[in-house]
Amino acid sequence: MRASALACLGLLLALPAVAADYVALPGGRFTSVLPADGKAAAAQVAPFRLRTELVTNAEFLAFVKTHPRWRRDKVAPILADARYLTHWASVDVLGEQALPRQPVTRVSWFAAEAYCESEQARLPSWYEWEFAAAADATRRDARADPAWRESILGWYSRPSSTALPQIGGVANVYGVRDINGLVWEWVDDFNALMVASDSRDQGDPDLLKFCGAGALSMQQKENYAVLMRIAMLSALKAADTTNNMGFRCAKPD
């Protein structure tokens, strides 16, 4: 009896101090900047849950300690490039360049996926992310408001040399924080957005590189803060890491 109580205590101690918060989002029909059929169709987003906060350095450090194959000195180069977690003081110490409550960056898509799996979660899809990011503090879809779009664009003009803020920004109407204006975020289908290629170019030797309904046409060109996200994601490979690319996780409803 005592042994099992001790075991329970051990289990409790082994858990992260505070389990990550996920909030429910209703989903629904959603006008994405990427039409679902490449032309005009709205996206259908199923109800899902999203992590309210970005994954932090402290959280990723705890993960790396329990999953040593994701230490920067152990990770396979095909799963994370040479810059992976290099802003940490050492393989298992954050140091001054990586504060515990700053979002973790310099993580590859593979590493982000593995982390989410450790929370019994996954990365959000692009549509899920875009759905959550369309909200402001009071509205589910603030995208038609020029002032709101302007405030998001303001983030892009922040010099990238300044230190990343910590998490804990203002929550949007769903309770999701820092989805606009802190870091870029990995999504599950980052390599599905395909804006760089137009398969209808006649005479192109890569004519058959993309099959299906052809290349996507972008909608809502005034919403280019979001289009920049897509351009960024499309330019990356799954093992790439960047100074400003972090992530949060999602779960099914």
């Binding site: 059929d37 259908q44 095909i78 799963l79 395909m194 030797p205 058959l208 299906g212 309904a213």
Partner: protein, 189 residues
């Protein structure tokens, strides 16, 4: 005696595969555990294909447009090799569409296209692993509302340790430089 037993157990584990004794290179696609199910229903880890060069692609069986050409290109590339060299490589095509491409659909497709199971593996994986595999191979895909997929079409050559040795986006006809790379790898040093 105990030592002998553990030695025997180790031999069994290694399965006589010489490559298994060498550590896996860090840039091998076999670093990521991906569970495949072939057209014969047999389950296999992707990394179990270590030891022989592989010609790999991704496709889906209900694809009417470029996918038949992808399969043709795999066949053309293999057939462009000397018969003795041909037998040293395996062909693997993994589905983008695990929801529709179950084992029966894969087997059906293999039968219809007369794909010899000694040479070809058509496989499915769980959706998260399909996405991971596409990331490893550098292929892109996106499901459309009508059930079709937008996807990139490429053939990827893996060496015996699962490192990407060459790739081609030329589909529907032979890519001579790719054939050359496959031939050189299959012949070995």
């Amino acid at each position: 005696m105990k030592r002998l037993l553990s030695f025997l157990a180790m031999l069994l584990l290694l399965g006589g595969n010489a490559h298994a004794t060498q550590p896996l290179p860090g840039d091998s696609v076999y670093q990521l555990p991906v569970q495949l199910t072939g057209q014969d229903g047999r389950q296999q880890m992707l990394s179990a294909r270590r030891g022989r060069p592989q010609l790999v692609t991704m496709f889906y069986t209900s694809c009417q447009m470029v996918c038949p050409l992808i399969i043709d290109s795999m066949r053309l590339t293999r057939n462009a090799l000397d018969p003795a060299v041909r037998s040293r490589i395996d062909l693997l095509a993994v589905s983008f569409d695990p929801a529709k491409d179950d084992v029966a659909a894969l087997r059906n497709y293999a039968d219809r296209r007369k794909l010899d199971p000694r040479i070809w593996t058509l496989a499915r994986a769980e959706p998260a692993q399909v996405r991971q595999l596409s990331g490893l191979l550098g292929l892109q895909y996106r499901r459309l509302p009508d059930g079709e997929f937008n996807h990139s079409s490429e053939l990827v050559l893996l060496d015996a340790d699962g490192r990407i040795a060459a790739r081609t986006t030329v589909i529907g006809r032979l890519d001579p430089s790719f054939v050359k790379a496959v031939d050189a790898l299959a012949r070995g040093p």
